[in-house]
Every structure is written in structure tokens, then in C-alpha cells.
């Protein structure tokens, strides 16, 4: 469904002219309905991979390689075609929901905008759908939340809103960029569970970026380990856990906090 072929990304600093290589020729494929966990330490290029898929990499970037979604070259899309693809086929769930929503517009506007202005759904239907979506991600007081402004809601609540917005299009591919990292521990599990459930229900594919190996293993079919912009290992969670091939993967496994150290 998604094919990333030899993806390279380097960013030129506009002030110093220094070029830093962020991604060094990574390739991976994703089957329909599959969830792939992208794990690795900060700065290993996980989020940048997602940004390249969406075409929202930072200014000064130069991207090489191909990214194909069902045979269409995403990097070659322009203008209206690119906009519609972003609106209909892809959905990003970012780390901090408080910076995702426009702080001066009510939450309802965020959802409405995604459906009616980005995807031409009639306003009245988008309105109804907004409350439905919120209830489906476990928000009971959907009307109150729709009228609220982002700063009035907790991070966990807001991330549910973002997930609701992301699944509203029934996109082909969900791009989740550390969706639970900015939340407190109790809501982390809830939000991860909702995301997992919704994805399976609608049989969407997902790339799940995380530095938390255990979380990624729990919600993903396969894991890909990244380091310094390179994909060092890819396999099922069991393979990665039981027989890590790469030295770095072993380090990563051992770096996890353990509840019972003697079991390791």
C-alpha cells in the first residue's frame, strides 16, 4: 500500500549553509491495514520520515527517493491534488495536541474544518458527524467539548479530539507521531487504546512513531528500528524482542525500564 524507496533527506541551515543529513536512504513497505512502529531515540529521523510522507518537511529540506501510496508518487503531487490527498488519504496525529489546534478557535471548528472545508462535506452533516466522532472516541459531553476552546481541555481530551479528526476521513494511512508522549501516564494508555481500536475497526494502515518500544510492540504488527537517520532493523515485535539482529536494537531493548529486573 505504502512504499518508501531509498528516502533521503538533508536540511541546509539558511544562516550557516551547513548541510545536515537527516535520513540516509531508507526503504520500507507497508501492507494495507498494517501498523508499523518506527522506534529509536530522539533525532533518529522518525518524525522526519512522517513529514516527508505528508510533504511538510521544514524549509531548506531536499528530499530524495520515492514515496508511493497505492502506486501514486506522493512527492510528485502539487497544488489541489496534494491538498486533497492530505485531506482524504493521510492523517497526522502529532505529539502535542495543544499546539495542533488553533488556540483562538473552538474545538468544533477544528473538526468541521477538516470535514467540510477540506473535504467538501455539507456543513449540517459535518456538524452531526462531529458529535458522533467525539462520542466514538469516548467523549460523552460532545456538545460542550465542541464549544470549548483548546486551552479549556486537558491534553488527553484534546488528543482524543485530534484522533476523532484524523479518523473522520477514513484515511488510508494514519501517521501517529508519538501521540501519547505529551500526555500523563494514566491517559497515555487510554489514548493508545482508542487509537488502536479505531484503526483496527476501520482497517487503516498506520505508521506509529514512538521511542517507547513496549508501547509500539503492543499496537503494531511490525517494528522498524531507526538510528542516526538509518533504518537498522525491521521485524515483528517478537523477532525484535527475542532475536535482535543489530547491536543498537539490543541496546534499545536493554534500556527499557524493567518491573522485575531478574526476568530480563
Amino acid at each position: 500500500m505504502l512504499t518508501i524507496d531509498n528516502l533521503e533527506l538533508s536540511i541546509t541551515d539558511p544562516d550557516t549553509g551547513r548541510v545536515s543529513e537527516i535520513l540516509r536512504g531508507n526503504s520500507l513497505t507497508l501492507a494495507a491495514g498494517e501498523a508499523l512502529g518506527l522506534v529509536g531515540e530522539s533525532g533518529s529521523g522518525k518524525s522526519m520520515t512522517l513529514q516527508c510522507v505528508l510533504g511538510i518537511e521544514p524549509p531548506g529540506s531536499s528530499v530524495g527517493g520515492r514515496i508511493e501510496l497505492e502506486g501514486r508518487d506522493l512527492r510528485a503531487l502539487r497544488g489541489e491534488e496534494l491538498r486533497r490527498t492530505r485531506a482524504e488519504d493521510l492523517a497526522l496525529i502529532a505529539q502535542n495536541p495543544h499546539s495542533v489546534l488553533n488556540p483562538v478557535l473552538p474545538v468544533g471548528k477544528y473538526l468541521m474544518e477538516g470535514m467540510s472545508e477540506a473535504r467538501s462535506m455539507p456543513k449540517a452533516r459535518a456538524r452531526l458527524r462531529s458529535s458522533e466522532l467525539l462520542r466514538s472516541v469516548g467523549i460523552e459531553e460532545s456538545e460542550r467539548v465542541l464549544r470549548s476552546y483548546p486551552h479549556q481541555l486537558s491534553g488527553g481530551m484534546l488528543q482524543r479530539v485530534v484522533i476523532a479528526g484524523a479518523i473522520s476521513a477514513q484515511p488510508k494511512l494514519l501517521l501517529a507521531d508519538e501521540p501519547t508522549t505529551a500526555l500523563d501516564v494514566t491517559t497515555q494508555a487510554e489514548v493508545a487504546a482508542i487509537l488502536d481500536e479505531k484503526r483496527r475497526e476501520a482497517e487503516m494502515s498506520m505508521i506509529f512513531v514512538s521511542h517507547d518500544l513496549d508501547l509500539a510492540a503492543a499496537v503494531c504488527d511490525r517494528l522498524a528500528v531507526m538510528r542516526y537517520g538509518e533504518l537498522v532493523e525491521i521485524g515483528t515485535p517478537e523477532e525484535i524482542r527475542d532475536a535482535p539482529q543489530h547491536e543498537y536494537t539490543r541496546e534499545l531493548m536493554n534500556a527499557r525500564p524493567k518491573l522485575h529486573p531478574e526476568e530480563a
Binding site: T85, S99, V100, G114
Partner: protein, 313 residues
């Protein structure tokens, strides 16, 4: 609502304190009022005493302040010490010109300042450089010099606009006050354009704008609803302070274009040490500053729900 009440309350406090400063400030000037009234002539102590009684100069300071303030609130600023006219009548005759000039300049600042700033903030290239250069120029050139320049070019050489008088009727005023308003608006316009440009630039790099792009929101909406609208929050504050300052700079412009506004009146009154007129004008300025700032704060609350609704989650 509680926000509005608390803002009104603090505004009243500002008015009381500053009116006290305005009133007492006049007594810090060397010389006493009755000496100015007799204008250097030698008069008998009896005459001086009668003047002091007539103007209640022997009352305790706080009593005089209280009487002045209460009648000022009712629109009575007393009489001019030199022309014996009611100060309120003097002001009423002069105020429209100043207000018109200030509002005219204010509209120019808002429309062209924001307009140019948005254009410069959203596209790169020659136009942006022109706006940046122009705003440096506009800010650096003193108002009175801009006034002279405009008079020479558009009034003198091209002869498009009149350079004196304030005209009559709405159209006449608009026509007569165009050059003064342009001269008056230039420095503020330059600042507003520049801040708008920076603010738009900053906002267009913010996460929520990037996310709107990633969600496939149409470009036009990303620009106006998410970028420009949000970037106007800091601009609002700047515009507020500049609008209030326009009123003060209007005095210089009125002088340069020989307009019959409050500014010219103030300059004359200061020359003749006409206490009552100076106090009244100073008080009006204070009130105008206060009201404009109040309006800006309330407007800010309308635009930004975080102010209106408090920070509580």
C-alpha cells in the same frame, strides 16, 4: 463580564490618579495664578485678594481639586483665564477637527499598516523589501518633516491637496485633512506594517498552521483564518497604543498645517499660561488614552478566547 467590570474599575482608578496629577501639576509651575491674571501689572493687594476670592484660590488644595473634578465630570471646565470664555465652549469648537484628523489617521494606520504588513509577510521578494525599507523610512522621518515634505510635493508642486484650513462638511474635511492625516499616520503606519509582517511570518511557521496544511485545509483558509487572524493579536495591542499616541502627535500636525484643533489651542494656552484650558485638554487626553486602551483590551478579549475565558482547564 467580570473581566469588563474589573477593567472599568481599574480605568476609573487611573482617571482619578491622573486627574489629580493634571490638577496639581499646574501648581508646580513657578508663579501663582493671580500673578498671571494681572499680567505683570502692579495692582493693590486688595485687587489680588478679590481675584483670589473670585477664583477660590484660598480654598484648601483638596477642596479646589474636588470642585474642579466634579464640575469637569459634568462638562464644566471653568473659564479661560485669558479670554473669559467657557473652556467647554472653546473645546467644543476645536474638538471636531482634532477628532476627525486622528480618526482619519487611525483608519489609515489600520488599513494600510495591516494590509502592507500582511502582503509583506506572506510573499517574498521585491515588494517585501520595499515595505521593510519604507517602514524604516516612515519611522525615522519626524512627523513635522513629513508634513513639510507632503505640503511641498502634493500641496505645492502638484497642487492636489490644500495645505491649510480644515474644510467644512464631511467631504470638505476629508479633502482638507488628507495631507495632515497622511503625515500624522506615517510613523505609526510604519510600525504597524512592520510588526504585522513579523507576526505573520512567525505565525505561518507555527505548529497549528503547519498542521492545517497537513490536514489539507485550503490555502486561503490557512492564510486568513489561521495565519493572519492569529498574527493580529499582538498587532492589536500595538495599534491601541499608537492610536492613543496619534492624538498627541496630532498637535504637531495641526500646528504645521495651521488647523484649528485642540493642539493649536493647547499651544496658545501654554504660552499664555491659561491654566484652565491646559488642565482641560490634559484631562481630555488622559480620558482618550484610557478609553482607547479599554477598547483595545475589550477587543482583544473578543479576538482571543484565552483572555475572555481565563486559563482554567
Amino acid at each position: 463580564m467580570r473581566y469588563v467590570i474589573s477593567r472599568l474599575w481599574s480605568l476609573c482608578l487611573v482617571f482619578v490618579v491622573s486627574s489629580f496629577v493634571v490638577f496639581s501639576g499646574m501648581y508646580l509651575v513657578p508663579g501663582s495664578p493671580e500673578n498671571f491674571l494681572v499680567q505683570g501689572r502692579t495692582v493693590s493687594p486688595e485687587v489680588l485678594a478679590s481675584i483670589r476670592v473670585q477664583y477660590s484660590l484660598d480654598d484648601p488644595f483638596l477642596t479646589r481639586y474636588w470642585n474642579w473634578l466634579t464640575s469637569a465630570v459634568q462638562g464644566d471646565f471653568g473659564r479661560s483665564l485669558t479670554t473669559r470664555q467657557d473652556v467647554s465652549n472653546l473645546l467644543a469648537a476645536r474638538l471636531p477637527t482634532t477628532l476627525f484628523l486622528t480618526l482619519y489617521a487611525g483608519v489609515l494606520v489600520v488599513v494600510f499598516g495591516i494590509g502592507l504588513g500582511v502582503i509583506a509577510g506572506t510573499r517574498e521578494g521585491v515588494f517585501e523589501k520595499i515595505v521593510v525599507f519604507g517602514s524604516n523610512l516612515g519611522f525615522a522621518v519626524p512627523t513635522f518633516f513629513a508634513a513639510l515634505l507632503l505640503m511641498a510635493v502634493f500641496g505645492g508642486a502638484l497642487g492636489w491637496f490644500p495645505v491649510t484650513g480644515s474644510g467644512s462638511g464631511f467631504g470638505g474635511r476629508l479633502f482638507h485633512l488628507t495631507l495632515p492625516a497622511v503625515a500624522l499616520s506615517l510613523p505609526s503606519l510604519a510600525v504597524v506594517a512592520r510588526i504585522t509582517r513579523t507576526s505573520v511570518r512567525e505565525e505561518s511557521g507555527s505548529d497549528h498552521v503547519l498542521m492545517a496544511v497537513a490536514r489539507g485545509v485550503p490555502r486561503r483558509l490557512v492564510l486568513w483564518r489561521h495565519t493572519v487572524r492569529n498574527s493580529l493579536l499582538p498587532v492589536t495591542t500595538v495599534i491601541g497604543t499608537h492610536l492613543a499616541a496619534l492624538l498627541a502627535s496630532a498637535f504637531v500636525i495641526e500646528y504645521a498645517f495651521t488647523l484649528d484643533g485642540i493642539g493649536a489651542l493647547l499651544v496658545d494656552a501654554v504660552h499664555r499660561q491659561d491654566f484652565a484650558v491646559v488642565q482641560a485638554i490634559a484631562l481630555i487626553l488622559v480620558v482618550a488614552f484610557g478609553l482607547i486602551n479599554l477598547a483595545v483590551d475589550l477587543l482583544y478579549a473578543v479576538i482571543d478566547p484565552r483572555i475572555r475565558l481565563g486559563k482554567a482547564a
